[in-house]
Amino acid sequence: MSLNCKDLLGLEYLDKKDLQTILNAVKPLKSLFTRSVKKVPTLIGKTVVTLFYEPSTRTRNSFEIAAKRLSADVVNIVTNTSSVVKGESLIDTGKTLEAMKADYIIIRHSLAGAPNILARNLNASVINAGDGFHEHPTQGLLDLYTIYDKKKKIEGLKVLLVGDIVHSRVAKSNIWALTKMGAEVAVSGPPTLIPENIKDLGVKIYYDLDEAVKKADVVNILRIQLERQQENLFPSVHEYVELYQLTKERLNKAKPGVLIMHPGPMNRGIEISSEVADSPNAVINEEVTNGIAVRMAVLYLLKKRKNASSN
């Protein structure tokens, strides 16, 4: 059991077997959270660096907790106070971190492919924590695990992603993981926020949310970035709310056991109503807990290059 790669750059690059390997490792790791001592010595002596070029609270903290529960040492680089502002290149920053014996580098960057560049140039394991509009693999994995944990399967499930698909790396990672595992994925949102070629990934498009919701076993609601309105991608927040907010009324049209997910941070009253966010169907807080266990599984399973820190 292992992933046959040193880096986690995107779920596009994993196959069904890899995804199943990760899912299987999550449950025993999650069971640690119920112990009085939640920490195990698995990665003792390893160094995990988080290198975030974009703001993040939950992803970075989740990685930090995951690494600490495996006994790794964690260093957080805040790019606006580091040499990055002095003009250091990405590769040089990576090499510097490697010279400091980093075993894992967790990177978030506004440019798609930035983690790939780092991975090619370093021995350390690189984990993509979100790159541009490309992928956010650990979010995709934690969504996959949350569905698997609740529904006990993935194959044959109808999963609906709602909102801004075109700018969403979470959507891309979800689509890759879910379709590989045999789920039927559909998207719904304003036409300006859904790329037409998403169909090539085997995804159905519904511009009518009421229609889409009826069939879904899982509805994953994406955050609407309000700055998109300035780009005139939707006419007004009010109109978005009218057409695409998941409301109690819309939820009532769905199957009774439908799972409501949101990667956070939520804009209550915009893409999701407060009633729905707090309804028994919502598993939004469990996603956060699962995120830690999923990130522990990834840190555990990535193939170690012999041996990043000891050479």
Binding site: S2, N4, V40, P41, Y300, K304, N307
Partner: protein, 176 residues
């Protein structure tokens, strides 16, 4: 060439003897718990529980039982270049504080598995005592660890394999 150390009858006799000794030392069922180390130790632990249940005329489910996986506590994970070991379930569904724990494994060799298992217990609490029972002791310890209950001693540097009915269809211990 496969060299049999315990055949099916000797295997079951050895487990029965271990169970009798454990019960002789631990009469009060509510004070002790049986914990099997993943994966073969778990099957052996269940067998020992059913033997003790017969000896003590309590129901099997009244004897506290847990499973323990040492993977996350291994000290040799850096040596696994291709393929990390599978993480199995650790389930201790009782409060182990002030309990006498009987830890069960199939083969005792270097002692490193047992050392890791002792580390796992400290994450759950502070048992009153921990005793070790193994089906085979193959010698060559690298740590100061000994078993209190031993089915058979067979000193060898060769790999000893334990087959049991539940997974392999028959009970047998052999050098492979």
């Amino acid at each position: 060439m496969e060299e049999i150390i315990l055949d099916s009858n000797a295997f079951q006799d050895a487990l029965r003897m271990i169970s009798i000794k454990i019960f002789a030392d631990n009469q009060n069922i509510s004070d002790f718990a049986i914990v099997g180390i993943q994966s073969k130790g778990v099957f052996l632990a269940k067998r020992i529980i059913s033997e003790i249940a017969k000896l003590s005329s309590v129901k099997e489910f009244e004897i506290l039982f847990g499973t323990l996986d040492i993977t996350l506590h291994r000290d040799d994970l850096d040596d696994f270049e291709s393929g990390m070991p599978i993480i199995k379930d650790t389930v201790i569904p009782f409060d182990l504080n002030r309990k006498n724990i009987i830890l069960i494994d199939d083969v005792l060799f270097t002692g490193r598995t047992v050392k890791a298992a002792l580390d796992v217990f400290t994450d759950f609490g502070r048992p009153k005592s921990i005793q070790l029972a193994v089906l085979v002791d193959r010698g060559f310890r690298e740590l100061p660890i000994e078993a209190k209950y031993v089915g058979v001693k067979y000193k060898t540097k060769k790999f000893i394999k334990v087959d049991c009915k539940e997974v392999n269809g028959e009970d047998k211990v052999f050098v492979s």
